[in-house]
Structures are given as structure tokens and as C-alpha cells.
């Protein structure tokens, strides 16, 4: 269901069910047609399948003017340009192969970054330094060091960052988080998340194949900050998945953990901290926060038909569980008082709208850089415990694993020349 369809449903369901917005439409000049000078000028970097969906959410908004696409693949550049030009009835969408060119444009206010995970952090940081606000798909970073740099950079540059963790803007997840944060579950005890596939490994090389012409597919830019390896067509088709959990410790719980662990962090008021102890337990990964709350990452044991990305929060007085089917389940019906209209299908429209509002007001978006930073740190540290198959302890002030030389080395990874963050 898209945002407009949802709003129609919500209106039918009753006034109280409407989604709250940070600011009313009229404040932001989006009550009706928006003058070109008032629009947020948007560009995009790396638009594959996911990016195409999120870009669609942006294009639905009247106060957005999409002007440029950057992608290392010509086919994608042409596709996005055709889509934008058709929407605006012109031929003005510019195409770029090298992101440094789109970053150099002074007229662009904000960027949608939906490259493979290998590029997310570096592209976001470069965009912030170039004065752009950023909506970046997740996982947003490849390791702990990148997570900290991401947060530092957006603080230093004063730019707005929204991680593409759209469940922070969906009513069922928000409601569950509120139950936890407002004490309605009693003192929080345990948070449960399903990161899916908690196995780690190291990325390697695939067999060398003849490269494409640079204009068709720019392998060097596709590799970007990842360590060099020869062109391989199959790899080039992918989204660099082996870098999802970080190049040094690939795989693991970053892909889904950046959503569900992030929601647990939010529920625990841990947007500015991370779990401090992590240990594998059977097929699960357990962790503990500074306030004693336990985090359990597990793949099984969820309520039936709850959908992907389930979470469960347990307190002394009750529990709540929800997932992508949009329904909420709780220990008591009274806990569900005031729940908003169900939205299934985890659309990104609300999250995109929240980002655009914050671009205008400079308010803190739902999935701001600090929140993304610490949610990712928790996932990376969990990955390190999984990779080493033993307990690790993390110092959230010094950002190190005290006395644990091996774990400490897994906090960062050199970027391929000439890239730096």
C-alpha cells in the first residue's frame, strides 16, 4: 500500500488513526502544488531494484524535483532518466557515471543513495561533505569505524541523514517501541530481533572475465572503496552482497539487523549507545545493554504469520510482538489501546516524507545518523562475536573491545585507494 492509499484508508478508519507528521503540510509548503523554487532538488546514486522503489516514493512527493542520476551501469542510468523525464515532461534529468560529478552540483539539496552496501557509508560521507542531505539505504556501514565516522561527519557538516530503515516510520513498529519507551510494558527485560542468517565469512575473488566498456559498466567505480579484484560479470550484477556485513567480516546480521536490531535499540532508548556484551548461544546471538536489558537475535520461535523482520519486547508487566504483516500482538488487549491503522507491506513512503520534512526544518529524522551508527555498531559487534564464535565485550565510550586485540582489529578496514572517509 502506498502512502496515499494508506491515508485514504486511515481517513475512513477515523480521524484518530491518521499518521502523525512532524510538521503539517502547510508548514512545509506541500498542501498543494509546490513552486519550483520551494522544491527539494534531489539526485540519486546507485539505483537498482530497491533504489527504484524508494525513488518512486520520492517522486510521489510534490515538493521534490528529481534532477540527476549517477550509476556505474549505463542501463540503469538510462532507465532512471527515462522515468524522470517522463514524469516531468522534459529531457532534463542528467546522468553521471562518477559520483564526484553529481556531488559537485551546487543545485542539488539531497541525495538518495541506494548503491550496494559497499558504497553506502563512503557515498554518504562524501555527500555530506559536499553539502547534501542524505537518505541512504542500509546497511549504512561496513564496520564499527565507519559507523562512528558516519555519525561524526553528519554532526560536523550539519547535514540531515536518514537511514533507509523505514520501519521506524511505520505505525505498528512505532507503536511497539512506544509501549517499551513509555514504560507500558514495565521495566524492560528482553528484546528480540530476527536478523536472519547469522553466518559470517570473508569475501574473496571470483574468476576474471573480460571487463565491460567503462561507459557500459564502470568496474573501478563499482568496486569503489572495496579491495581490488578482477572484473566478474556475475559479481557485477549483484549488489556486492558479501560486503553487507562488512568487508572484513562479511555476511552476518547486518542485512536485517540494521532494521530489527535498530528497532530494539530505539525501544531501549539506545540511539546513543550500543550493547556491551555479546555471546553466541546455540543458534542465537545474545547481547546485553549497559542498562541490563538483554537482546536476543534469533531466527525462529516467532508468532505464526507475523511476516518478515519480527521484533518482540518483553518487560516486567507485559510483552508486544509485531512484524511486517502490520499486526500487533500483546500480552493484554489494553496494551494495544490507541493503535493506529494497520499498514502492511513495509512501505517507505512515510520514512521518505519524514526525511523531506527534516530537510526543510533541520529536525532530527526518525533514523538519524547517531541512531544508525549505534544500531550498526551493535550489529557489527554481534557479527564479530559470531565470527570469532566467542564472547566479546565492547566499551561504548572508547569504542573498543578492551584487551581483545583480535576483535579490535575487526573494527575497521582500509579503503582502496584513492578513497578515504
Amino acid at each position: 500500500m502506498n502512502r496515499r492509499a494508506f491515508l485514504k484508508t486511515a481517513a475512513k478508519a477515523g480521524a484518530l488513526l491518521a499518521m502523525p507528521m512532524v510538521l503539517p503540510a502547510s508548514v512545509l509548503g506541500r498542501g498543494g502544488a509546490v513552486a519550483p523554487s520551494e522544491r527539494i532538488v534531489l539526485g540519486a546514486i546507485g539505483i537498482g531494484r530497491r533504489g527504484s522503489y524508494v525513488l518512486g516514493c520520492f517522486l510521489e512527493e510534490q515538493d521534490v524535483q528529481f534532477v540527476a542520476i549517477c550509476d556505474v551501469k549505463k542501463e540503469r542510468r538510462d532507465e532512471v532518466k527515462a522515468r524522470a523525464d517522463q514524469k516531468y515532461g522534459n529531457n532534463e534529468c542528467k546522468t553521471y557515471r562518477d559520483l564526484r560529478e553529481i556531488l559537485a552540483r551546487d543545485d542539488i539539496d539531497a541525495l538518495l543513495i541506494a548503491t550496494g552496501p559497499n558504497w553506502h557509508c563512503l557515498a554518504s560521507v562524501l555527500a555530506a561533505k559536499a553539502g547534501k542531505d542524505v537518505y541512504s539505504e542500509k546497511p549504512c556501514t561496513k564496520n564499527i569505524a565507519e559507523s562512528l565516522i558516519l555519525a561524526d561527519t553528519f554532526r560536523r557538516t550539519g547535514r540531515i541523514f536518514q537511514a533507509g530503515t523505514q520501519r521506524r516510520s511505520l505505525p505498528n513498529f512505532e507503536f511497539a517501541v512506544d509501549l517499551a519507551r513509555l514504560g507500558k510494558l514495565g521495566k524492560l527485560q528482553t528484546l528480540h530481533a530476527q536478523p536472519w542468517g547469522m553466518a559470517t565469512g570473508m569475501s574473496g575473488w571470483l574468476p576474471e572475465e573480460p571487463p565491460l566498456p567503462k561507459e557500459e559498466g564502470d568496474w573501478d567505480m563499482w568496486l569503489g572503496p572495496a579491495a581490488w579484484r578482477p572484473f566478474n560479470a556475475e559479481l557485477f550484477k549483484s549488489a556486492f552482497h558479501f560486503e553487507k556485513g562488512g568487508g572484513l567480516v562479511g555476511g552476518g546480521c547486518l542485512e536485517w539487523g540494521s532494521h530489527c536490531v535498530d528497532l530494539c535499540q530505539w525501544a531501549n532508548d539506545a540511539d546513543h549507545t550500543a550493547a556491551i556484551e555479546y555471546w553466541p548461544e546455540g543458534k542465537e546471538l545474545h547481547a546485553r545493554y549497559p542498562n541490563g536489558v538483554k537482546l536476543v537475535m534469533r531466527d525462529t520461535g516467532w508468532l505464526p504469520n507475523i511476516g518478515s523482520c519480527p521484533i518482540r519486547f518483553e518487560g516486567e508487566k507485559g510483552w508486544v510482538e509485531t512484524g511486517d504483516n502490520g499486526d500487533l500482538y500483546a500480552s493484554s488487549p489494553d496494551l494495544l489501546a490507541g493503535r493506529r491503522a494497520k499498514v502492511a507491506g513495509y512501505p517507505a513512503n512515510f520514512h521518505v516524507r519524514n526525511f523531506l520534512d527534516c530537510v526543510k526544518t533541520r529536525a532530527q529524522p526518525r533514523a538519524h545518523a547517531d541512531a544508525a551508527c549505534y544500531a550498526h555498531i551493535t550489529c557489527h559487534a554481534a557479527n564479530i562475536a559470531l565470527f570469532l564464535n566467542r564472547k566479546v565485550v565492547y566499551d561504548t565510550v572508547k569504542h573498543e573491545f578492551p584487551g581483545d586485540a583480535v576483535a579490535n582489529r575487526l573494527r575497521s578496514e582500509a579503503l582502496r585507494e584513492p578513497w578515504r572517509i
Partner: protein
């Protein structure tokens, strides 16, 4: 030897790390292909020590492996790695040199300052830029002295990096409590001919480095006509500690143009200032509607019980947007006091207030409000709204009162619906039935008909007996309502009544309704499939119309027996083939383990009968021979 997984066609190649550094170093010494050396470097990043450095250092000049070697050299903690990277500064150029400089930056190697400073003059702008940023990461007065003059002198292509280096260096000054040095450097950057973004960053730093003395500069930016400067000030104010900054923001909010006020209020909120609550409470009550809406939204997010009275006042006002926002906030507010204030709305003379109160009672599920809701149910202006909420909140305790209302109501539909919903939720429905039966005797007209229907919702043998008796009532309306209730009865204990009705009724309408009721209830019986099928077969001659045939197929679909499949099969070649296919697959899935042959035979026509591809596939899978484990 490392097991490098090189599988053509695999989008992902993962390798297990080797932990034996002797083996890893042997790979680097050998003529192994670059792929193996690359992975060895990665493992050495985790497990390697100074012994690996001499093997890694030469790889810094190898275009294919250099990035892998630096992964290891950046990670190995021994100073030998610093020595190797520093030594490479004099041997490399171009991108490889930039890579080494970047690694030195990550390691914050202060011994590299002079060598990096020399690179600031490199003809290659990328090298000079990398050096400037690296120096910034290392920080210190020597670095500041090296970088600051270049803000004016560096070539245009290098100047952004110099500005970045200066800002990084200034940040380090702040971290080291050298605020004066930081201010000096930030101010130098602000004066330079650099990008707008760099200037904004330096201005932020200049404000923060001055600490409390930075307030005037913050105010200057907040008052700037330049939107970017105002925006930067908003973000900077979020980072500044202290109540004074909150007061400053409040003062600016009062003097700012209307279009800037919401952003200033949001800044207060994001800072977590205690003043945000009082500011939002003030702003919510009067002023531009945009600011009021922003304030109400903030009150919702702050969730403080003290905002209840302001929000309640707004919630009952005529402005729909403000009222809706206030109600949305009130739903979340914690506290019994908030509940009491909301319930008190039902005593107000304004119908708007009473409606808002009922809406909020329902949304917050205030159980203690049921007496007030029952009183409101007698108020024609809000009765229906109140009954809807009672349907959700009331229990058996409220049933007598609702039955009392029903006895006096002109329009019984809403009360009947409320009671029906309440009954459906109860575990002790017999008690509900008793209460309805007690009201039934004296009831007449619409009330009596409503009570008969409610007996169906309550269920039980006594309720069924009463309905059965009413089916013989001389009053036509009573009799028809009772018969319809019987035909809709939810449990199989009504089956004998329905069978009798089907046989004795003169009116075709009752025969059909009785038939439908039986088709619905037969599968629900606690009986063997054979008995159920026998009952169904007795009805088969009576089934003529498509509507009842559909019900027949639905019933058969719930009876797991090979005979069910036999009865369904003929319909796979009729207009009802889609329904038949669904029924056949439903039965087959339950009996396939015991009767695979019957299933395979019965489902043969299903894939052709249905247009549902998923259903057809389920049928095909069921027809597959069972694999022996």
C-alpha cells in the same frame, strides 16, 4: 593452504579465515596467484604481527594487491606497520601513494607529520589533498601551523582538503581542551575563500569552540537572512549544552518570522530541554496554526501528563486539524489523571466535547469509564458513538444495563450490535443467555425480535430451547425471526431442528435456509467423516441451485475422507470447477498420507479445472508419489 572458493556463477564468494600466520606468510612468500595473496592479507589483518610487515610492505607497490596489503598494515598494531607505511611515502606516487597516506591518517602516525607536510606541495592535487586531510586527522599545533597558511595559498583543487584538514585539526584541539587554538583555526577557515559547506562547518566549530561565549555568533547565524546559515545554526544549537542556549532559542522564537518558528521549536525539542515542554504548551494554545500543530506534535512525542489539560482544550475545538492532532497526542499520554480528565468530558454541555471524550475513552480503552458511557448511551447526540465504544470495553457486568436500554429503545439495532459483540468475547456465554432470557419474557415488538437474535450470539441449550419455542409463536414476525435464528444457529445442536424444518416447511424459503444451515453445521459435528458424509448424502437430492452446490462443496472440503473426493470429483467438470478444485485440494492435503492413490486419482483433473496456478501446483505436488525416507 587457503581454501579460496572460486565458483563461477556465484555472486558471493566467501572464504573461511586462516588463523595460522606461518601459513599465511608462506603464501605471501610464494608464487601463489594474487587471489590467494589477497585473502592471506585479509587474514593477516586479524592475526598477523610485526613478522608479516616485511612481507606486506612490498605489496604496497602492487596495483592489484596494494589495497589488500593496506588492510593488514592498517590493522597490525605493531609500530613496524607505521614504519613501513612511512617508508613507502618516498617510494610511491599517484593513487598508491594516496592510499598509503590515507592509511597513515587512519593510524594517526604523528611521526609522519613532516613527511606529510612535504607532500602538501606535491604537484599531484590528490596527493596534496590526501596529505592535508591526513595531517588534520593527526592534529596538533605543528599541523595547524602547516595547514593554516595554505587556506589562502593552496591551489584551488587542494584548498577544500586543506579546509577539511584544518577543521579536523580544530576538532582535535577541542577534544584536547585547547579551545583557544580551535577558535583561531576555525576563524581562519571562516575567512578563507572556500566552499559554502566548509564555511558553514567552520562556523559551527567556531561557535562550539567558544563554548558559552559562542552564543552571540549562534544568534548572528540564527538571524541570518541566509537560509543555509540559519539551518546550520539550528543544527549547532542541538549540540550546545546548557539552559542558556534553551533560553536563547526561546527568545529567538519570539522574534523570528513565523516561517522560522516551528524549526526553532523543533530544535528545543531535539535538544531535550526541559523548556521544550513549556514552550510547546505555550505555542500549542495560540498563534499561527502551523506553529500550534508543530507544538502539539511535540507534546505527543514528549508524552508528559501535564500537557493533558491544554490538549483537551484543543481537542474539543472546532479546528479539525488542531483537534485531530490534540486527540492523537492525548491517546498516548500516560496517567490515571489523564483518564479522569477525559471521562469528565462526557459531563460537558458541548456535544463536541462529549464526542471527543467518547472517542478518546475508546482509543485509550478506559474500562473505568463504562458507567459514564452507559449514561452517554442514553444521550441521542452521542449514543451510537458510546455504544460502539461499549462494544469494545464492556463485559457481562454491563449487560443488564444494556438490556435495560434495549427495552426502552426506539431503534434497537445499535444496542443489539453492541451486546452481540460483547457476547462474542465472553467465555461464560450461558450467563449472557440467562440475562437475555430474563428479558425475553416481558419483551414485545422490536425488542423481542432483537432478544431472539441475541440468543444466537449467546448460544447454549437454554437459548436454543427458547428460540425453538418462539418458532411456534403465533406472531408471524416472532416466528420468522426465530426460524431465521435457528437457520443461522452457530452450533450443530440445531441440526435436528433444521432437518425437521426442511421436511415440514411449506415455504421454499425455509427449506432452502434449513438446507444451508445443515450444510454449514454438518462438518462441525463431532462425528466420524463417514457419519457426516452420510448426512450430506441425505441432503444431496434437495440440492438443485448453484448457491447450495457451492455450500455443498465447501462442506465436503471440510470432511477429510476419500468419499468426499468422490463426491467432489463430478463438479470438476462443471461451472463450479474452481470451488470443486479448492475443496478437492483441501481434502487431499489432509488424507494424502493415508490415501495417496485415491488422492492421485481424484486430483487428476484439478490442474485443468482451476485458473489458480498456486492451487494447481499444490494439486500436482499431492499427486507425486510419496518418497520413502
Amino acid at each position: 593452504m587457503l581454501a579460496v572458493l572460486l565458483a563461477a556463477g556465484m555472486a558471493m564468494s566467501m572464504v573461511a579465515p586462516e588463523t595460522d600466520t606461518t601459513k599465511l606468510m608462506a603464501v605471501l612468500r610464494s608464487d601463489a596467484p594474487p587471489a590467494e595473496k589477497a585473502i592471506a592479507c585479509k587474514s593477516l589483518a586479524i592475526y598477523g604481527n610485526k613478522d608479516a610487515v616485511p612481507l606486506l610492505a612490498p605489496l604496497l607497490a602492487n596495483e592489484q594487491i596494494a589495497s589488500w596489503a593496506r588492510i593488514a598494515l592498517e590493522a597490525i598494531t605493531d609500530p613496524a606497520a607505521d614504519d613501513a607505511l612511512r617508508a613507502a611515502l618516498g617510494k610511491l606516487n599517484g593513487k598508491l601513494l594516496v592510499g598509503v597516506i590515507n592509511s597513515i591518517a587512519v593510524r594517526r602516525d604523528a611521526k609522519a607529520i613532516s613527511a606529510l607536510a612535504a607532500k602538501l606541495k606535491d604537484a599531484d592535487a590528490e596527493v596534496a589533498s590526501a596529505a592535508a586531510v591526513a595531517l588534520g586527522h593527526i592534529g596538533g599545533q605543528t599541523v595547524a601551523s602547516a595547514l593554516a597558511p595554505l587556506l589562502a595559498k593552496a591551489p584551488a583543487g587542494v584548498r577544500p582538503a586543506v579546509a577539511e584538514g584544518c577543521i579536523l585539526c580544530a576538532e582535535k584541539f577541542i577534544a584536547d581542551k585547547k579551545h583557544d587554538a580551535a577558535v583561531k583555526l576555525y576563524d581562519a577557515v571562516r575567512k578563507a575563500n572556500i566552499s559554502k559547506q566548509n564555511t558553514l562547518e567552520a562556523t559551527r566549530g567556531a561557535i562550539l569552540a567558544r563554548r558559552s561565549a559562542g552564543a552571540p555568533l549562534l544568534v548572528e547565524q540564527l538571524r541570518s537572512e541566509d537560509r543555509a546559515s540559519f539551518n546550520m545554526a539550528l543544527r549547532t544549537a542541538r549540540e550546545m549544552p546548557g539552559r542558556d542556549v534553551a533560553k536563547l532559542l526561546l527568545a529567538e522564537m519570539k522574534r523570528a518570522a513565523a516561517d522560522r518558528q516551528p524549526a526553532l521549536l523543533l530544535t528545543l525539542f531535539d535538544r531535550g530541554d526541559a523548556d521544550a515542554l513549556s514552550a510547546a504548551l505555550d505555542a500549542a494554545q495560540a498563534g499561527p496554526v502551523e506553529l500550534r500543530l508543530t507544538a502539539i506534535n511535540i507534546l505527543e512525542r514528549l508524552c508528559h501528563p501535564s500537557s493533558a489539560s491544554v490538549l483537551l482544550t484543543i481537542a474539543v475545538q472546532d479546528d479539525a486539524a488542531l483537534s485531530q492532532a490534540a486527540k492523537s497526542a492525548l491517546i498516548k499520554l500516560p496517567g490515571d489523571g489523564v483518564d479522569a480528565a477525559i471521562v469528565a468530558l462526557l459531563k460537558q454541555s458541548s456535544a463536541n466535547a462529549r464526542r471527543a471524550g467518547i472517542e478518546l475513552i475508546g482509543a485509550r480503552r478506559i474500562h473505568s469509564a463504562t458507567p459514564a458511557l452507559l449514561r452517554a448511551a442514553e444521550d441521542s447526540t452521542v449514543a451510537n458513538a458510546s455504544l460502539k465504544v461499549l462494544a469494545d470495553l464492556a463485559g457481562t457486568a454491563e449487560v443488564p444495563a444494556l438490556l435495560g436500554l434495549l427495552a426502552q429503545a426506539k431503534d434497537t439495532a445499535a444496542i443489539e450490535a453492541t451486546l452481540s459483540t460483547i457476547f462474542a468475547r465472553q467465555t461464560d456465554r450461558a450467563a449472557c443467555a440467562e440475562k437475555v432470557l430474563a428479558s425475553l419474557a416481558p419483551a414485545k415488538g422490536q425488542q423481542k425480535l432483537a432478544l431472539l437474535r441475541l440468543l444466537r450470539s449467546a448460544g447454549g441449550s437454554k437459548a436454543l430451547a427458547a428460540v425453538r419455542a418462539a418458532a411456534n409463536d403465533p406472531d408471524t414476525e416472532t416466528k420468522e425471526t426465530a426460524l431465521r435464528t435457528l437457520c443461522d444457529w452457530p452450533t450443530p445442536d440445531a441440526l435436528p431442528d433444521l432437518a425437521a424444518l426442511g421436511q415440514t416447511a411449506g415455504d421454499l424459503k425455509w427449506k432452502i435456509l434449513a438446507l444451508r444451515g445443515q450444510l454449514r453445521l454438518i462438518p462441525q459435528q463431532e462425528a466420524a467423516p463417514a457419519k457426516k458424509l452420510a448426512a450430506i448424502k441425505e441432503l444431496t437430492p434437495l440440492i438443485e441451485r448453484a448457491e447450495e452446490k457451492r455450500l455443498l462443496l465447501a462442506a465436503l472440503g471440510q470432511i477429510p475422507a476419500p468419499d468426499s473426493l468422490a463426491l467432489i470429483a463430478p463438479y470438476l467438470k462443471t461451472d463450479l470447477k474452481e470451488e470443486a478444485a479448492i475443496a478437492a485440494v483441501a481434502v487431499a492435503e489432509k488424507i494424502v498420507q493415508k490415501h495417496p492413490a485415491a488422492v492421485a486419482s481424484a486430483l487428476r483433473d484439478v490442474p485443468n479445472a482451476t485458473s489458480d496456478k498456486k492451487l494447481a501446483n499444490r494439486a500436482r505436488q499431492l499427486m507425486q508419489p510419496t518418497k520413502k525416507k
